[in-house]
Each structure stands twice: as C-alpha cells, then as structure tokens.
Amino acid sequence: MLVNKENILKYIPQRAPFVMIDALIDANETSFESSFLIEQDNLFLADKCLSESALIENIAQTCAAGFGYVATQNGEEAGGMGFIGAISKLEVLGTAEVGNLIQTSIKVLSSFGTIHLIEGVARCNETDLLTCQLKIVLA
C-alpha cells in the first residue's frame, strides 16, 4: 500500500462525506489501484447497494490520488482540483453492498497536457462492477 486511509486526503480534493476511496494501493505513470470499503453511512447507498454514480466517483478519485501521488514523487504538489470532462464506454455489470471492498484499477490511455483519457474498472470479489473511460482534466 502506498497511501493509507489516514493520509489519502493529502492526495485528493474531496472531503467527507464525498470521499470514495480509502487507500492507494499502487501507482505509476500509467496505472493506479485503490481500495474502498463500503460503510453503512455512505451517502450513495440505495437499499444497501452502492450507486453507479458512486463507482464512477470512485474511479475519478482513484485517478486524483494516483496522479497526485505520482506528482509528489516528481517533487510537485498533490491534492489539486480536477474535473471529469467526459464519460464514455460505460458498462454497469454489477452492484456492491455495505461491507464489500471495492478494488479499482486505472489505466492511463492517453495524455495531452493536463487532460488525461483513462480506462477504469471497479471490482468486488474479482468481479467487474463497472467499467468506463473518463476524460480527466487536472486544474
């Protein structure tokens, strides 16, 4: 693990109750991995299932943490603002419930300055829950 729950806020701009990742497991220039335990008080629960929008946010926050962590490794600052510029190729394949651990993988497909095209997969128990591509703009 690269960043634990106590330190993840140093790398993302979101704050409770909108934080949708717990830890950054791995990160390099082209890929990131995170984990997130769904707790009882999550704002995005409906009938104890986490909403699709929360999984998209989980993917976006994994990007924020990953880009932030890599930036600090290069001597730059982390925790800056970022925006989802576009969502494409979205597939919702399953749901996760309270108590499930979400494991998310990101692959950076392309970059142009501060704009990045990424492919994200959120999984639970080795089953894909949601996949999509996001255009992330780092401010």
Binding site: G85, A86, L109, S110, S111, F112, G113, I115, H116, L117, K135, V137
Partner: protein, 81 residues
C-alpha cells in the same frame, strides 16, 4: 514514410475518427477548426496518431501546429527522431 504517404494516411484516419469529409483536410486548412476539436478531443487525437503513425505526440509538439501543413511537418520531424 514520405510526405505523400503521411498525407494519405492521416487523411484517412483523421476523417474516420473525427467524422469529417476527407476533402476538407487540405494543407492550408486549420486543423482544429476542420476537425472541430475541443481541448478534450486532443487525447483522442494522440491515440489515433499513436495507432496509425507509431509515436505519441505531446502538447508541446502541437504548439507550432495550426494548419495541416504544420501538422505534416510535426509528423515528419517526430518520425525522423
């Protein structure tokens, strides 16, 4: 790849990717306007260039690109590296 091959190849993949008439891709025409590129579209442009020409351009490479003629010169320079 010589200039004629670069023009032929880029005309094909750019018109397919950005859904424009290949005849509008002329050296003197503005690349961004012709392809109707938003800033977000440039990450897609990077991908199709890498897939079709074998190199990954950066934002820096596009600083001197306004027309397709500029684009062809940038491609030639990158492919010569």
């Amino acid at each position: 790849m010589n200039r004629a091959e670069i023009i032929e190849t880029t005309k094909r993949f750019l018109s397919e990717e950005f859904e424009v008439d290949p005849n509008t891709i002329e050296p003197e025409n503005n690349l961004q306007e012709t392809l109707d590129l938003s800033s977000l579209d440039y990450v897609d442009l990077v991908i199709v260039i890498e897939e079709n020409l074998g190199f990954k351009p950066t934002a820096e490479d596009f600083k001197s690109v306004a027309t397709f003629e500029d684009f062809y010169q940038m491609v030639e320079a990158k492919m010569a590296e």
